[in-house]
Amino acid sequence: MYHLHHHLSTPKSLYPLPSNPRFLFLQPPTPSPRPPQAPPPSSENDVVHIPSYSRWFSWDNTHECEVRFLPEFFDSRSPSKNPRVYKYYRNSIISQFRKNPSAKITFTEIRKTLVGDVGSIRRVFDFLDAWGLINYSPLNKQLKWEDGKDSSSKTAASPAGGGGGDGGTAGDANASNNKDICKRLCSGCKSLCSIACFFCDKYDITLCARCYVRGNYRVGVSSSDFRRVEISEEARTDWTEKETLQLLEAVMHYRDDWKRVALHVGGRSVKDCITHFIKLPFGEVFTGYTDLGDVDSKYNQIKDCDDEESGPNSNGSPSPSKKIRLSPLVDASNPIMAQAAFLSALAGTEVAEAAARAAVTTLTDVEYGGNKDSGVASNGDTNLNASVKACLDANSLLEKEESDVERAISRITEVQMKEIQDKILRFEELDLQMEKEWQQVDQMKNLLFADQLSVLSKRSSTTKIDERGSTLKAEERGDENAKTD
């Protein structure tokens, strides 16, 4: 990342434009005579550094990443938070900072001078701080390792959580490149962390083991907030050739017994051995990187061991190499084959294939070159040729089998699909039948309803006649009673 020289705008452009009379720049920044931090440009204006990933910034406009990080000002959810207010906050914060670029400006100073609610001011402040538009001094790069936060990751970061969430990160750090995450500076004692460091994600603090134990962190942070981060021992100590050779020997002898491997290597923990072994660049050798000279010699050693021991059994290696999983040969009582299978499984198919091929060719060379002991010398030319031919035959057979298997699978899938199609057709027919029956039931319901209605109407008419009759009777009775009274 290089640093952009952003010239302080001339005071004229900072005064409010006639269309926005509400802009308040309380004091125009006076360009005081200060020695610039870089080779002085021809103009007399001061030079303020901002990181190159913030070059989108301009006094008059709002960039889309500002919209993304601080959506509260742009989504018209609240009546007085609008882009104009945002620009007012942003520009006054930046101009305040630029009045004295060598000093870090604190949030409290700023918010005392800005009218508005402190929450949103803080978010704007944090946003500007994170993007290096304020409190950015390129001369203090080594302090940037402290928080281990990557500002460049912010450019790629998704706006998840909006302005509030990510506003709280990256107080001081403006790391221009943070590829080397293993270098961690303790925020407490400012020393390089080795072995293990304690990292608190909540407050973004990295402490070395000593500071953690001493409790040298801010109040409010409890010891349970920290998690232990192991620095990979690659950074700590590099494996020497001797150690790597020992490791490989031990692995071949003890295979899975990492405890003994670790003992054999001497001075390395089990985990170290395993991690280093996995990282050993077997692959690069086969793709022909010859500049890794020591790796080459390592590989040759392995190869020679294999050559001496594998002999006529080399044709067996291609088949286990095709399988990623450990092949059944691992359990074979033949320890040599087991080792070869194990190594080839670890290294991967292509690598193992190449190794086998190379082994075979070396064998042929060796055979033509001279005598070798332990079984190779006993085999004559014919045997070797036969073995090579057998190898090739095995390969072609394998390929044929593969294609057979493929064809079988495709046929099976076709049949299955046909089955499913038939089932679907049957279900459709059933569905149709169901619908018809349903319609019939519906019709019958309607008929029944009509019948019920007619019955009810007839009944009601009869009851009405009855009622009328009864009321008449009641009236007569009433009259009679009245007459008697």
Binding site: L24, D117, V118, G119, R122, G220
Partner: protein
């Protein structure tokens, strides 16, 4: 059903700051081990509570205060916010006229400000921040800290008025409940805090202010020298001590 207290009023309105943005004025005054921290700012009640802790930590870090301050700051802010929220569910009285006088009498660093003006509590679009900005512009105030202080003072007084109106509304409701709504409670009792515009203009219905009130209603901005500032501060401290 609530009966409307007067013909010109509308249904009661939920409590909120009568400004465009519903911001709470927060005042902090914490003293710990010989160190005093005084502050006043506006807070947005929509912000989550985690924001309070973040703010407290930032402030303590920026001002290099000792760490115990963080807890006190957080507690104080939370108490004031809780108080605000407790009013939030309740009703405010919404009578026709709600013009209140706002008095400014504050000292920010070396600027002394005295002012008085009328503010319409019914105007929920009012903006103390805007007022403060214009005030500073017009009066040519150099100190950038004056603006927020003015806005804060206005907001505080509006808040107090709003709280009073909630209390008044509650009183009315209680009294109404007691009398089963049979008696008619006059509106003027409820709007005790607001000035009756008629009375203000002396029953003459003239909008022009009387000459002797001109000084009162105009802003005075004084710039004090350092010695005067020190003297004033010492006097203030003595007052505070004597009160304690």
């Amino acid at each position: 059903m609530k009966t409307l207290p007067s013909s010109s009023s509308k249904a009661p309105v939920k409590f909120r700051m009568p400004t465009k943005e519903n911001l709470v004025p927060i005042r902090l005054d914490i003293e710990l081990e010989e160190q005093r921290y005084k502050d006043a700012f506006t807070w947005n009640p929509i912000d989550p509570d985690s924001e309070i802790t973040i703010f407290a930590k930032r402030t303590v870090k920026d001002l290099k205060l000792p760490p115990p301050f963080i807890m006190h700051i957080v507690q104080s802010i939370q108490t004031q916010l809780a108080e605000f929220r407790s009013y939030e569910g309740q009703d405010m009285l919404y009578t026709g006229d709600k013009i209140v006088p706002i008095k400014l009498d504050l000292r920010v660093n070396s600027t002394l400000i005295k002012d008085q003006f009328l503010w319409d509590m019914n105007n929920f679009d009012s903006d103390p921040e805007d007022f403060a900005k214009t005030f500073c512009d017009d009066m040519g105030i150099q100190d950038p800290e004056v603006g927020p202080a003015v806005a804060f003072a206005i907001r505080e007084q509006l808040y107090e008025n709003a709280v009073q109106s909630v209390a008044a509304a509650r009183e009315i409701r209680l009294s109404k409940k007691g009398r089963r709504g049979a008696e008619y409670v006059p509106a003027s009792k409820a709007g005790g805090t607001s000035l009756d515009l008629m009375k203000l203009f002396n029953n003459k219905y003239s909008v022009v202010r009387k000459r002797k009130e001109w000084d009162v209603y105009g802003p005075t901005v004084d710039l004090l020298s350092n010695e005067e500032v020190d003297a004033l501060e010492a006097r203030e401290e003595r007052n505070v001590r004597s009160m304690i």
